[in-house]
């Protein structure tokens, strides 16, 4: 139970120290979003993984009979 020293100072002495989230929350959020979009953007498009999408609307049929 800490006694409050200055009775004259009203708002200032009650202002709590900014927490980790106040200081770095926005940076962590944006940084995490950036990492996520860049990594998964690469995985989904550039990496060469076969996702097995439907040919409907995508593949132009080609003659197969020899």
């Amino acid at each position: 139970a800490r006694g409050i020293q200055q009775t004259a100072v009203r708002q200032a002495h009650r202002k709590h120290e900014p927490s980790f989230h106040d200081k770095y929350g926005t940076v962590v959020l944006l940084g995490g979003a950036a990492v996520f979009t860049s990594v998964w953007g690469y995985v989904l498009t550039q990496l060469g993984i076969e996702w097995g999408f439907s040919p409907t609307g995508r593949i132009t049929p080609k003659e197969w009979r020899e």
């Binding site: 139970a1 009650r14 770095y24 959020l29 990594v39």
Partner: protein, 171 residues
């Protein structure tokens, strides 16, 4: 049986706890531990906690408490606020205030999901072999035409989405 054996070995005297030791200097009364006494709590559903927030008042605060016993109109605004802060830690507004914790949490979650993606990259690069040749563009094109020629899944499936008159996918 075994417990009494331990007692006789160790001696009853040394089993005395710290509470007992303190009691010897206080005429046999055990000092109450802090956790046994009513405590202060900042909770929305406890508007008047059992004790005041500030337990040990300074001389200045004691004088203020004396002044509080007189007419309250004599108190200045600062003094009233000081009395409030002696009794309560956080106001309801401060209690209910949200935090920015969600930013850290969401950012952390997204980051580690990104780490999962890195694992996939590693797998594709170092582990998986080449995909079957039946996934090449040529093969897929020929395969699709063959399926359409066979009228595969004509009701709701692939052939239902192909316009056989215009020779194109239905819009």
């Amino acid at each position: 049986m075994l417990a009494s054996r331990v007692f006789s070995l160790v001696g009853r005297r040394s089993i005395c706890t710290s509470l007992c030791l303190r009691a010897h200097g206080h005429a046999g009364v055990v000092k109450a531990e802090d956790y046994t006494l009513p405590g202060y709590v900042d909770r929305r559903d406890v508007p008047l906690p059992e004790v005041a927030f500030v337990r040990d008042l300074s001389a200045q605060q004691k004088a203020l408490k004396e002044k509080e016993k007189a007419a309250w109109s004599a108190l200045s605004v600062e003094e009233k606020v000081e009395l409030y802060r002696m009794k309560f830690n956080e106001s309801y507004a401060e209690m209910n205030k949200g935090t920015n914790e969600w930013k850290t949490i969401l950012g952390g979650v997204l980051f580690f999901l990104g780490v999962t993606g890195v694992i996939l990259i590693w797998q594709k690069h170092f582990m998986y072999g080449p995909i079957p040749h039946t996934f090449s563009e040529d093969w897929l094109a020929a395969q699709t035409k063959r399926m359409l020629d066979m009228r595969a899944n004509p009701v709701e499936g692939i052939s239902a989405h192909w316009d056989y008159d215009k020779n194109e996918w239905k819009k």
